[in-house]
Subunit: 174 residues, 2 copies
């Protein structure tokens, strides 16, 4: 259950409404932990009921801003430092590669090269994003500091995938 920790963590930076949090999920967090409105609003309600966050302000149109409570921050820190993350690498692309024996070699090679093309496009989009993000606008926030580290992972991942797809394509005989 990581969504709740993501929410507490974001609220720690600054109080926000469900609507605000959705913007963040769509923009910066989408590649790392996608979430939908339904999920966010439901989880906020649960977190408030559990006393891990609390309403700090109300605005127009029923807007409610939340901030983490002390209990919420304690739970976040506990999860960050003491709970070992478990990665379930579920990759549709790798699954397909695994099953590529079902099509002929020309098509398999085409698949690997299509992976390469998509990765190059992703890489271009990431570079554009990196250039466009106004980290200074955030000042010296923690999100800026650690956000850069996360984005660097994405960049390295894509570089690696591009090289791998070329290697893989070359490995399939004509």
């Amino acid at each position: 259950m990581s969504l709740r920790h993501a929410l507490i963590g974001l609220l720690r930076e600054r109080p926000a409404s469900g609507y605000d949090l959705m913007q963040i999920f769509e923009k910066s967090l989408h590649q790392v932990w996608p979430a939908t409105k339904s999920q966010v609003y439901a989880e906020l309600a649960k977190l408030a009921e559990a006393g891990l966050i609390a309403v700090t302000a109300e605005g127009p149109r029923g807007r409610r801003e939340y901030a983490p409570t002390e209990a919420g921050l304690a739970e976040l820190r506990h999860w960050l430092v003491e709970v070992t993350p478990e990665e379930h690498q579920r990759s549709e692309t790798l699954l397909r590669v695994f099953l590529l024996g079902a099509v002929d070699r020309a098509q398999a090679k085409e698949f690997m090269l299509a992976v390469r093309e998509r990765t190059l496009a992703d890489l271009a989009r990431l570079d554009a994003l990196t250039a466009s993000i106004d980290w200074d606008g955030h000042g010296d926030t923690d999100l800026a500091r650690y956000g850069v580290i996360v984005m660097e992972w994405g960049r390295r991942m894509m570089e690696m995938t591009r090289e791998w797809s070329e290697w893989g394509a070359a490995r399939i005989p004509d």
Copy 2:
């Protein structure tokens, strides 16, 4: 819905029972597409009902071996070549890095170094696995050909993650 395609693809290599398929999921496919008994048996039933696989043999203890039908193979090929895979990178580790501002820098650095340690351990396990797999036992099967490409992705991914975790740790000031 990739599980059904995974199952058809595995059955294409050789007919198998749900029990056999679970062995495969636990051994070779776990890192790419984890699945549980409940899921596998349920999906086999659905696939059989949809006419994409069929029982080819029955054995002791109610054992039923399945093989894909022509319709199943067509569906698999269609999915492999014509449906663009969509990746939802959901990484608990990266989410934590993103939120690392909630703990002090020493702990954040410790976290990055713990990622490094875990990655090194994973890498050692992968190398051991690579050495232990008897690809020749499978002969020149497609799983051997493409399985190697998938494993190489894993290896490169781990190498990348190790380097990145060192880079990230160094980037956090004392």
